[in-house]
Symmetry: C2
Subunit: 333 residues, 2 copies
Amino acid sequence: MSMKNNKLVLADRPNPSISADIFQLAEEQVTPLSDGQFLIKNHYLSVDPAMRGWVTDMPNYIPPVEIGAVMRSFAVGEVVESKHPDYTVGEFVYGLFGWQEFAVSDGSDIERKVNPSDGPLSINLHVLGMTGATAWFGLTEIGDPQEGETVVVSTAAGAVGSMVGQIAKARGCRTVGITGSDEKARRCLEEFGYDAVLNYKTATDLVGDLVKACPDGVDVYFDNVSGPITDAVMSLFNIGARMTICGVIGIAPDQVNGPRVSRTMLVKRARMQGFLIFDHMHRLSEAVSGLQPLYQAGKLSFSEEIFEGLSSAPKGLESLLAGTNQGKVIVRL
Amino acid sequence: MSMKNNKLVLADRPNPSISADIFQLAEEQVTPLSDGQFLIKNHYLSVDPAMRGWVTDMPNYIPPVEIGAVMRSFAVGEVVESKHPDYTVGEFVYGLFGWQEFAVSDGSDIERKVNPSDGPLSINLHVLGMTGATAWFGLTEIGDPQEGETVVVSTAAGAVGSMVGQIAKARGCRTVGITGSDEKARRCLEEFGYDAVLNYKTATDLVGDLVKACPDGVDVYFDNVSGPITDAVMSLFNIGARMTICGVIGIAPDQVNGPRVSRTMLVKRARMQGFLIFDHMHRLSEAVSGLQPLYQAGKLSFSEEIFEGLSSAPKGLESLLAGTNQGKVIVRL
């Protein structure tokens, strides 16, 4: 049997920004399976902020995508052919299968088998995938929120932030979101159940607004931005506050310096810790065990912006990086 | 029985620096004991950096010493009279008894009973007291050093720092001290067993010197200073590094800003946590259980600078704050 695979390869490095034309469509024959291999037909591809780092050749936590190689991506696919004893035709799997129609696997790139009865297949890319696991481990293990505490989330309407807010809410916390548009602020309140929300772009007194939103101070801060927003949140830390550092996109080039944090950390006996989901993906099933009941109970709202067809993936990434997306960016094949 | 107590009271706030003359000698009659009380005769008084904060009226983790009140201080004393069922004449105790000859206690200010057979009484003020407990909990619980890891200590020759270095050494770590004089650097190597030491005052390339001293990077940093020294150490953090923030004396007034730490914390998945010993003093016996065997095995060198007589305590504090002391400052009564 001869089968064609269409894929998107990385043709260029960003110069300096990432545009759709650094990716190129390519076609190849699917190589016949060896023993111990199986063939995955991708149904949904993921588009994630982490791709910003993967396409550069800067030192990172994971090697860069090579020029000419298929773009790295999480995906949900179906086993359509198998010479592997543990994977059966008709099973669904989640893993780093790349921006392509088909992927040959030996099992080493499988994060977990997906249960189609858990909900729409696509949620395994976010609510029950890397996004959800980021929120789950970053919040519950580093933030360790307790009932009645106040949890602040930056990029509160984002794929990760909205999960963090909802998990914290389900644990009985007061949740306060910080976001960058009135539309996102509205979604924070109406869809993600935050108790209060701030638009940092229109705020004239961010600290004052935070004081009103957090009358009992801040116990847990899930930070996706760093920079001046984080300075403001830290000024409200309670004794014993915990902070998860999950992203640093808010450090503008002219803001690499800022207030030293040591005195606040000492006076408040606070803890901050950097979090990278790739250190924890081998425990994905553990996160899903925590997230799946919340999802079934209707406590994890989300929205998806679906791009149709493999060739639309680069546009999806552009949209995500520009912040014009409405929800988790997904490519449907 | 009428008995006189001599004490040092706080007569003035620092203006702005702390000098011996903000304290005043006073005499009083010891009030007769009520049921549930006992009388302590102090043998050794402690002089600690924390006193810098206690004599100001700035907001702090503990209320300021009131004007006219006896100066707050840890001390080791002997029970000389008792109407308390749990404290017997002849027993030795450690607690916040103040800069005075006698203290009446109801037991609430007792940190622990001291065993005179553990060594010289005075070590209960430092090696087996607050100093040792600071090093023990701050290093072992936040730093969590593992055999073979590299542990860096700032104010490496100080009362706390020297304990940290020796506990880490006893756990099989490579220990690197940062200190501010060649004499202290010599003591770090010869007395406290550091594997390498840096004098930050004479260093022309602190990061370069650290790279040489820490060929495998930095896994644990016990920080007593913050500021530029800490910036340098953090640049060598390994993935998963842990940092205990125990003091911030290195933040000069013109250095309240510095490099933002979030990116380093994220990329290195590092953890930093503020540590205040007063949160942990109720667990002092636990620290002593860890420290006492090390002391008995000769693995905890220390030096004391003894000031003779109650009236010398303010001079001892001046010496400590000026950094001219040689070892733990103690007042012998």
